[in-house]
Symmetry: C2
Subunit: 335 residues, 2 copies
C-alpha cells in the first residue's frame, strides 16, 4: 500500500479508502489508485486487516465424530460442503477447529480465540464433551447442527417427523409388525424414537419391545448382528427401519443368507437418503443436507452480524424417498 501511495502521489490513508470503496474520495484518484494496485499485483493482507478491524471473516467448524469416521459420512460431508459454499458466497472462509495451538494441546475455545474466528459451527459432535459445552456456551457466535443447546441458534433435521412418515408409509402398505433399529442414544435418536412411538400410537399398533433395538449409526457389522437377532424372533417383524442407509447394507448379507428376499419376504427402510440408497432402490427418508448446511451458515452469519439477535432454532424438513424395498401386504381384517 505504501508503494501504491508513493507511486500515485497520495497517502496510504487515501489508498485504503479507495480500496475499500469509501465515499471520501474523488472518482479520478480512486480510479488511478485501483489501476495502479491492479498493475502492481497488490493484495491486501488479511492479518493486518484482522488485527485492526477485529474481524477475520473466517468461521471455525468443529467436526468431531466419536466414531472416528470424521468426514467420511456422506451426511456430514454433504452438510459441510453446503455450509462451505454458503460461507464462501458471504465472504467467509472456513477452518477446522482443533484442540491444539501451534502444536501444543489446548482447548477448542482457546483455539478459536487464538484464531479470532468470527463465529463457530458445531456439527455432529459429542456434545457431552465438556470442552464442547465450554465452546457453545462461550461469548462467540455459535450455531449447532442436530443439537439444541438453548444458548445458541440451532439447525436440526426433522427427525421425529422422519420416523413418523416412515412408519405411516409402512402401515399404509399393510405392515403392522414394524421394527425400529436405532443408533446410539443421542438427542437425534431420542427424537426419532419419539416419532416412532407417536406414529404407532396414532395408528393404533403396538410394537413388541424386542422390535426396538439399539445399534450404532454407520456400523454395518453391528447392524448385521442385530438384524440376525430380529429375524430369529418368533414374531418376526415384517418391516425393519434401519438406523441409516449404510446400516441396511450391513444387513443385506444376513438377510440373503437367511433366505429372505427383500421386499418379498421382509421389508426394509433406511435413513439419510445417500446417493447409494437411490441406486439400490432403498426406501428411505432423505435428510435435506443442502438446506441444513445453508441454513446453519445463514443463522451463524446473522448471529455474527447481530449478536443480540434471538437465538431461534430452525427445523429442516426431509422427505420420504420411495424405493422398492417395502412390499405391499394384504391386511387381514378382524386381526
Amino acid at each position: 500500500m505504501k508503494e501504491i501511495a508513493q507511486s500515485c502521489g497520495v497517502s496510504v490513508a487515501t489508498v485504503s479508502k479507495a480500496l475499500n470503496g469509501k465515499e471520501d474520495i474523488s472518482k479520478a484518484t480512486r480510479d488511478r489508485i485501483l489501476r495502479k494496485a491492479e498493475e502492481m499485483g497488490y493484495m491486501l493482507n488479511a492479518s493486518a486487516r484482522a488485527l485492526k478491524t477485529n474481524r477475520t471473516y473466517s468461521i471455525g467448524v468443529l467436526f468431531i465424530d466419536s466414531t472416528s469416521a470424521g468426514l467420511a459420512h456422506e451426511y456430514f460431508s454433504e452438510i459441510l460442503e453446503s455450509f462451505k459454499n454458503t460461507a464462501e458466497e458471504s465472504g467467509y472462509d472456513i477452518t477446522f477447529i482443533s484442540r491444539t495451538i501451534s502444536g501444543r494441546p489446548s482447548t477448542f475455545l482457546k483455539h478459536c480465540e487464538y484464531r479470532n474466528f468470527d463465529g463457530v459451527a458445531v456439527i455432529s459432535a459429542d456434545f457431552a464433551d465438556p470442552q464442547i459445552q465450554e465452546l457453545i456456551t462461550s461469548d462467540l457466535p455459535v450455531v449447532t447442527i442436530d443439537y439444541i443447546s438453548g444458548c445458541c441458534p440451532a439447525v436440526v433435521s426433522d427427525n421425529a417427523r422422519g420416523l413418523q412418515e416412515l412408519v405411516h408409509y409402512a402401515y399404509n402398505k399393510g405392515h403392522r409388525r414394524i421394527a425400529f433399529m436405532h443408533g446410539e442414544l443421542t438427542d437425534v435418536t431420542k427424537e426419532r424414537m419419539m416419532g416412532f412411538y407417536r406414529a404407532c400410537r396414532e395408528l393404533g399398533i403396538e410394537p413388541d419391545p424386542a422390535w426396538v433395538t439399539e445399534s450404532l449409526y454407520h456400523d454395518m457389522e453391528l447392524c448385521a448382528e442385530r438384524t440376525a437377532e430380529l429375524i430369529a424372533l418368533d414374531n418376526r417383524p415384517t418391516c425393519i427401519i434401519f438406523p441409516d442407509d449404510y446400516s441396511y447394507l450391513g444387513s443385506m448379507k444376513v438377510l440373503q443368507d437367511a433366505g429372505l428376499r427383500v421386499p418379498e419376504d421382509i421389508s426394509a427402510m433406511g435413513y439419510d437418503g445417500i446417493r447409494l440408497a437411490r441406486v439400490i432402490g432403498l426406501t428411505t427418508y432423505r435428510q435435506d443436507t443442502e438446506t441444513l448446511g445453508r441454513a446453519a451458515c445463514r443463522r451463524l452469519i446473522e448471529k455474527i452480524e447481530n449478536p443480540e439477535a434471538m437465538t431461534e432454532q430452525t427445523v429442516v424438513m426431509g422427505r420420504l424417498i420411495e424405493g422398492n424395498t417395502v412390499s405391499t401386504i394384504k391386511v387381514v381384517t378382524g386381526e
Copy 2:
C-alpha cells in the same frame, strides 16, 4: 500482553519472550509471567503474530471436484481427514481455498496470498483449470495429490501397480477375458490403463478393445449402462474391473436383471477399498488414504520449512483386498 506486563511490572517485550520460551529471561520472572497470563485467561493473537512474523501456520486446501460431489467421496474425505490430523500435530490449521475474497470473485492464488497461507495442498482438482496451474506454479509451497506437475512435490497412489495386481489376481483365478471399465481420462486413469495393458502383456493375454470402455468415476448410472453393453457382447468378458467400488454398486442391478450371479456367472472387481466394499465382500484394490494424506502433509511442511528442498514425488502403495466377487475358473489348456 500490555496488561500482563503492567501487572507484573515488566515490559511487553519481556512478556513476549517469556511466552515464547526464549532464553533471554530469568526463570523467576518467566514463571511469574506465565502464571499471570494463565490466571488472566490471556490468549495471544494469531493475526498480530502473523503480521509480524509473516507466518500464519495455516495451510490452504483446494478440494474442487468437477463432479460437484466435493467432499462426498469417501476417498477424498479420508485423505482430507488424515491430512488434517497430521497438520494438527505439526501445529498447522487448515482452511479451504476458494475463488472469492471477502465475497467478491477472485482467483485461487489471490485468495491464498490474501490469507497468507504458509502452504497449499491441491487434491483431486481439475488440473486443466488455468487458475489451478497458476496456483501450483506460483512461489507458494504446494503439494499436489494424485497429480504430478514437476514443479512441486507430489504424492500419488500406485495406480499402475494397482491395476496390474488386479489383472494378475484375476488371471491366477483362471480369467482370460478381463474387461476394464475406466473413469474419465485423467492422469490417474492413464496410469491405471498403463498398468492394465502392461499386465496383459506380461500374462500374454490380449483384451478385446470392446472390453476397455470409458465411464466416469462414481457415476453409478453411467456404469450401469456400460455394464449392460459389456454383458451384451458376443464374447462377453468373464471378469469386469470397475472404475471404483461405487460404480460396481451401480452395475449390481443390471447384472441381477440379466440373471447373472456374482461371482458364479460373472466376476467383478472394484477400486478404492471403501468401507462398503469390505462389507459386501467386493474384491478391490484399497488405496491407502491414511498414508496419502499424511505423506502429503509431511511433504508440504518440509517444503514450507525448507523451500529450496528437492521437489521429490512420493508413491503410496495400496493393497488388494480379496472378497468373494471373483470366481475360480478352470483353465482349458490349449485354448
